[in-house]
Amino acid sequence: MEREFRKTFDAVSIHFRETFTRLFGGGTAKLALTDPEHLTTSGVEIQCKLPGKRTQTLSMLSGGERSLTACALIFALLRVSPTPFCVLDEVDAMLDEANVGRYRDMLEELSQSTQFMIVTHNRNTVQVAETVYGITMGADSASQMISLKLDGERVETPRNAPLTL
């Protein structure tokens, strides 16, 4: 049990360093055990150093930086121990354009081995989706679903669909 945890921790650590640096376009990060002597109870700490900055406590990170760091951890866990599928609800809400691009590219790469279902308001993120469903609230307050066609790289929305994209 302890050996399983240690093995997983080491594997995730390696991947986390790489996912972090890729998502931020630089910088370094690592995971650390709070109590390496007692593996059954040890916690896990995250230490990150953003491109050009010093290592800082997590609390100092900006809203977007926190989202991206959390994504790096989730992606590292998925690489080590893939789940059959993964659902992400608006995880890109706070990311700026540059960060959305890197997040989206990594999502596309991971999607070759894991099915993703994402909810997003971001037009850049939608571009890597092969299937797009639009949801609207009908006049009878029941949700309606329409399938949106992907035309090459662009998502086409039917003219009368009051969708925000």
Binding site: F5, K7, F9, T34, G43, V44, E45, I46, L58, L61, R66, S67, A70, C71, L73, I74, L77, L78, V80, T83, P84, F85, C86, V87, L88, D89, E90, V91, A93, L107, E108, S111, Q115, F116, M117, I118, V119, T120, H121, T125, V128, A129, E130, T131, V132, Y133, G134, I135, T136, M137, A139, D140, S141, A142, S143, M145, L148, V155, L163, T164
Partner: protein, 165 residues
Amino acid sequence: LRLKHLELHGYKSFAGKTDFVFGAGVSAIVGPNGSGKSNVVDGIRWVLGEQSYSLLRGKKTEDMIFGGSDLRPRAGMAQVTLTFDNSDGWLPIDFSEVAISRRAYRDGQNEYLLNGQRVRLRDLNDLMARVGLSERTYTIIGQGLIDAALALKPEERRSLFEEAA
């Protein structure tokens, strides 16, 4: 391919029968505020056996059933069915397609079905545990919760690694 399709009927804002077909790679759900996107995510969490109503943004069974509106009467029952492709036997069941269903009634009763057969919740939980879907902490990331992994205490964060182990 793991996820084939997801059908909601009477679940939250999905009064009518709605079927989402998933392909390989990334599937995206888009639409305006309050249209029902996160309700789809809740539906997936719910059909996999979630018992914590706070994670489902409700308080009791009844909150899962379409509550009706000025123009449409409420539903008597909610049902969600998640169908998996099992041609490679990743689920330890002797079917090439596995459909997990959950039904809820206004009297508070919940039913769980596997390929149409009634099963107990604990049987469903055992099955989910065997394919890494029981904890779901990094399988389903809800809206606004992306940096929950960062906000956790190191000792709590440990459970993500135990789940992956």
